[in-house]
Amino acid sequence: MRSSLGNLVVKEIKELLRDPKILLGMVLMPLLIFPIMGFAINISQTAVEESVKAASIALLDLDGKPAAQNLTRFLENNQYNIKIVKVDTSSAEEALESLKETNITVLLVIPADFSDDLANGSKGKLNVYVIFRRVSMAETGRSEMADFLLSKYEESLVKETVEKEFSNPETVLNPIDVSYSTVIKGETFNVDPRALSIVVISQSIMFPMAIMMLLIFGMQIAATSIAIEKEEKTLETLLTLPVGRLSILTGKLGGSVVVAAAGAVATIVGVNFYSGSIFGGEIPAVDLQALGLAPSMGGYLLLGVIIFITIVSALALAVCIAVFTENVRSAQSLIGYLYIPIMVPSMILMFADIDILPTAVQIVLYAIPYTHSIIATKAAFIGDYTTMAISIAYISIFTVAVLYVAARIFTSEKVVTGRISSRRWKLKR
């Protein structure tokens, strides 16, 4: 025989997961929408790259002397498959006019005194014209292509000059060889900190986002779960059953946690595909565990505790509000206000540590309980258990307070009669 609480939790999960709005919107959509977004961005990135590769540069040589010929040869023999199209006009204006009917968007002009300037030891001047026909990444990519080729040419000129004067041209050109190491908790690792920072940044964005998603999903689900009961008028029946009101509340929270977790996992999987499509191969493989930058078993355990407590408090808060609404729509719009104290700390702490923020901002953030789940997550990665313990204590106090209020509401008649409407309490007979 299933316990009353088990019966309630199973009913909640069935009822929520069979609701097409919840199943599609919170579980299936993130699994689909993020990979589709990543795929779309990937397609456009590839298209831009292909478009840049297929692009041509028009070249107008108004000089014709040796240095100009040398540059022309360099450009024509480039190893990057960039096609050079020579233009035979007497001025840049005419050349631009002749390009109107073509797809070429970059014109490189070698002025008449280019070779003479170089021969006299002066800087050789070149003019690049970029024709913007559309506003797109492909257009800017093409202009960078000319810049890239010219910088390669400049390097070859410098190298040629240095080789004439020095026996060790490589040392002259790159006189310093830097070796990078990373020191963590007093221990030195042969890991490039730049590579490490990319990994740490990706983690520090991922975790606050995952927590934010989990809380938002959970609140939506808990609010919907209560509001459906009110809308379908099933709550009154439920409250007259021989089962404790606190069991009903716990059943609601339990079912919502399970469904919210499914939604959060779907989102993380979806986002993972999304970032994999966009940053594919850019995030280096660094073993954070070996560097002591991944939580220990104890750290993971504390992390689990803090995330669980945070979710319970968020769901209880959502239930406290949703219980006073009459339908799902009004519940969800009211719950929307609660997203602010969740999203603001998440967004700020994705990109900055709390210590570097202005004091006033720090005070506000520390006062928001949901900030602490993110701070604790970051602390878990560096093994800062004191910070985690403080965060757990703060969120626990808040959670107990919210649960107390939720329990009071559920054991009072307000659960039946209370209404929030037009900023006033309305009591229904």
């Binding site: 025989m1 299933r2 009353s4 019966n7 009913k11 069935k14 009822e15 069979r18 609701d19 459906i228 379908e232 008028k233 099933t234 009154e236 029946t237 409250l239 007259t240 059953l241 021989p242 089962v243 404790g244 008649e413 039946v416 009669t417 009591l427 229904k428 007979r429």
Partner: protein
């Protein structure tokens, strides 16, 4: 008659919602095994009375007992004895009719007995194969039949039915009234119901309380009330009772 000889005994029930007084000293007693009806216009206090008896809300003053248990102080004990059917209640839309009945039965009995309750409820509801379908596909009448079956399947000592046939067509309303009456006769369940429908009350109830403005304007069997006010039906009896009050 001892206190527990009554299924319900309410004394001077008063209920205020803010400045609005919904009940103004309502007293009535319901005998075991009878069907007792509360009739009156909208806002008379019928639903408030049923909600107090079913432990959903508390009276501002006065008291109510169900089989001797105080609805305020001994609410968990009262909930084991009652089955409440709110007006226009729904079932869980994404569960099937059978799953809904199984969910409800599990609060009252172990696996074996719960299964038997569910089978009986399926029979009472008359939903047959449709009981396997999701509730959201049911018509209003089917939904109400499911809920009445849910309320009766546990064989409560007291069934509290708020407008059991509200909004139903003639066929479904007839079906619901018939199953209430048959079930009460078969199992000796006490029923407290509210209704706007005087024909329904006349058909179902052994005794009736005419409620107006939060208090009882008249009480008795339908025939006693008609005879007392010398009128042909309960509707006119109600009008006469409220006029005299």
């Amino acid at each position: 008659m001892g206190l527990t000889d009554f299924a319900i005994e309410s004394r001077d029930l008063v209920k205020n919602y803010g400045n609005i007084r919904a009940l103004t000293g309502l007293s009535f007693r319901v005998r075991r095994g009878e069907i007792y009806g509360l009739i009156g216009p909208n806002g008379a206090g019928k639903t408030t009375t049923l909600r107090i008896i079913s432990t959903l809300i508390k009276p501002t003053s006065g008291s109510a007992r169900v089989f001797g248990f105080n609805v305020e102080k001994e609410a968990p004990k009262v909930r084991k004895l009652i089955s409440y059917l709110p007006e226009e209640a729904g079932a869980y839309r994404n569960l099937s009719g059978r799953e809904y009945l199984e969910f409800m039965a599990a609060f009252y009995a172990g696996d074996e007995e719960a299964r038997s309750m569910v089978e009986e409820a399926v029979e009472i509801s008359g939903l047959e194969d449709r009981v396997r379908d999701r509730v959201k596909s049911y018509s209003k009448g089917m939904n109400r039949r499911l809920l009445v079956a849910r309320a009766l399947m546990i064989k409560p000592k007291l069934a509290i039915l708020d407008e059991p046939t509200s909004g139903l067509d003639v066929v479904h309303a007839y079906y619901v009234r018939r199953i209430i009456r048959e079930y009460v006769e078969k199992h000796g369940v006490t029923v407290l119901l509210s209704s706007h429908n005087m024909l329904e009350v006349d058909f179902l109830c052994g005794r009736v309380a005419l409620i107006n403005e939060g208090k009882i304007a008249g009480e008795g069997s339908p025939s006693e009330l008609k005879s007392k006010y010398n009128v042909p039906n309960l509707e006119e009896a109600f009008m006469e009772a409220t006029r005299r009050a």
